[in-house]
Symmetry: C2
Subunit: 353 residues, 2 copies
DNA sequence: TTTTAGCACTCACCAAGAGAGAATGCTAAC
DNA sequence: GTTAGCATTCTCTCTTGGTGAGTGCTAAAA
């Protein structure tokens, strides 16, 4: 899609494209020229619109599912619509209140808030909702605890500033004295405090060097323990995937499997979204369509995502969004995503202030 | 199913029922009398077998998908087969070695072992594998940690004897002094050590009473904190659900949704399995078929489960199993489940010895 | 130059029908 | 008790023909 050209459209062409997208979104049926005329209320005959639609097809914005059927937007058509034609709908007061209310329920961790967010988005959109935990490079270690469990087993708990606890445990070859563990714990806390979780390995290794000769045994133990800490995979919550099965485009078995695929491993989608958000205007909102979603050769999905920030003007800390068929009501859903992202940011920052 | 009668079968009827089940399991097509004769190599004509099959149908063991189609086993037919006819196949040495190898990989927690188990079972069976963490009533608290995170936020960590860490965190109304937290932590550790996780509330409440007048503030805080600990839902790992989509019986959209349903909430299945295992011979292995699986009105599944024990002659600590269509190769899969359950028990007990 | 009426054409969709094939149940004979 | 024979039942597939929505093209109108 990167190098595809988007030929410019005159006013009439824009109007027709917009109409086709709108009609197709609500009906899921190929759109014919007559229908467009009726919808637009123009004083033109279907034949005229037919010519416009033929032009739009030639430029790559529309396509026919078979000769002499109505037109359907291509990915490029959707993209043009989203970028140039769509007017984001304001949410009603009631809708805003509802979102606000659902997100101001008592929640004590980022985990809970984002799980709730994905649920809320799924409910509000009748599509699948997704919500990512704050990305690691903004997460910072607050505390490391080593807890002796049984003679040779030690649990490692890493708490970050978002209240997320990363746990792991290790079975050692030798027994460890409580004294040794305690001094190790102290050492780790000192060297890891406020270190980004991303950097856990490098920082520790470095600060370990200083100690190496002094406390050889301690150092070895520390390395042994830390290699057990799994690099925290950035977690994403995905809710309401069953809504997708209601869509006519996901009835076929092959399409069904693609949904399962996402549930099992959303990482390609996450990666694509992060990239797109980083390059988007203001790093605010992005829409990916079809192949852009990077879901193993399934080009049926569309996704709308917005970043949230922990401070008004800060860096994006993570994103939330809605996943559905390409044929989604973008105008309405975009505003839901935007507003919710704002609220999530507020709620998260309130957590630790 | 509870009150259904299982009319006794004579030898020929048993042979025919067994043949029908076997053939249907491999072909997924209704089985005709001719096919049965060929398979059995008997010196009888199809007409004779037809009569037997008609009898079996009358008794409820077989059914026709439509007049003048071949026969298919009913749930009752499968059940009779599993209980009386099936001969559990020995695993080959290679198969046993493979399972052993996969389970003796370095793993440091019950969590990892059972996740790996569900994966292994899915792979070996080409169905979905499931594995439950050791049930709570055998899990006992080893250690409680209260970790101050930020001024008003406290994380609660409960470690059980299986190396599983239950975490939660709470935002308090007032700030808490480290001293208070420390004494509270000490108090909780004393009163909760070796207490079953099931009983956390009752035990704490009781032992709190003793302290009530002495240290009022401490007690209130403890209660506040403990109400934040979510009752740990017994976790079950489910892997390989995508294998199910390959089965012809799960092609239709409605069936597909039932699979999703299980992925989202397997608790009815878990409950049914626990119950069945408790009443099974030796509390060892059980097979549930169709409606017995308790999956909201979807009667297409079958499940084979075995309990594992932490000590040779101990109580069952949890179960593992295989979920697939009713039409599963029970003879082979049963032995896989049995053997794996034995290995899991060994691996778990080795963890904390 | 733009728009439109008219018309032939294309294609999906549906219903009805015909024929093949796999099984069955039943009856009467072995 | 077993079986051969046969009419019967039902699914599945393929064909056929009709309908309707929509298109592209051409030539005329604005």
């Amino acid at each position: 899609m990167k190098n595809t050209k988007f030929p410019p459209l005159n006013e009439r062409e824009q109007t027709v494209l917009e109409a086709v997208v709108h009609i197709y979104i609500t009906t899921a049926e190929p759109v014919g020229s007559r229908t467009v005329v009726k919808k637009l209320g123009l004083n033109l005959s279907p034949a005229t619109i037919r010519n416009v639609m033929a032009d739009l097809e030639e430029m790559g914005y529309l396509t026919q599912v078979h000769t002499s059927s109505g037109r359907v937007p291509t990915d490029m058509g959707y993209k043009y619509y989203v970028n140039h034609l769509m007017k984001v709908q304001e949410l009603t007061l009631a809708e805003r209140e509802h979102i606000k209310q659902e997100l101001t329920k008592k929640m004590d961790s980022a985990d809970q808030i984002l799980r709730q967010t994905s649920h809320l988005l799924a409910l509000a959109s009748h599509q699948a909702g997704l919500a990512e935990l704050p990305v690691e490079n903004t997460a910072v270690i607050r505390r490391v605890e080593l807890v002796p469990l049984l003679e040779r087993q030690v649990a490692i708990l890493i708490l970050d500033n978002f209240g997320v606890v990363h746990t792991s445990s290790v079975v050692l070859d030798d027994t460890v004295s409580p004294q040794l563990l305690e001094s190790l714990s102290k050492f780790l806390n000192e060297s890891l405090f406020n270190v980004s979780i991303d950097n856990i390995y490098s920082v520790v290794r470095e600060s370990l060097k200083k100690f190496f000769d002094e406390r050889r045994k301690l150092v070895e133990l520390a390395l042994k323990i830390l290699t057990q800490v799994e690099p925290p995979t950035n977690q994403m919550f995905l809710d309401g995937t069953n809504n997708l099965f209601d869509q006519p485009e996901f009835q076929e078995p092959t399409k069904v499997r693609s949904i399962i695929g996402i549930m099992e491993d959303p990482s390609p989608l996450v990666k694509a979204l992060r990239e797109a958000l980083a390059h988007s205007e203001n790093q605010q909102r992005t829409v990916l369509i079809g192949s852009e979603t990077m879901m193993n050769n399934i080009n049926e999905f569309g996704v709308i995502a917005s970043s949230y920030r922990l401070e008004e003007e800060g860096e994006p800390a993570g994103f939330i969004g809605i996943l559905g068929p390409k044929r989604m009501p973008y105008e309405r859903l975009s505003s839901i995503v935007d507003y919710t992202a704002g609220m999530v940011g507020k709620m998260l920052s309130r957590l630790w202030r």
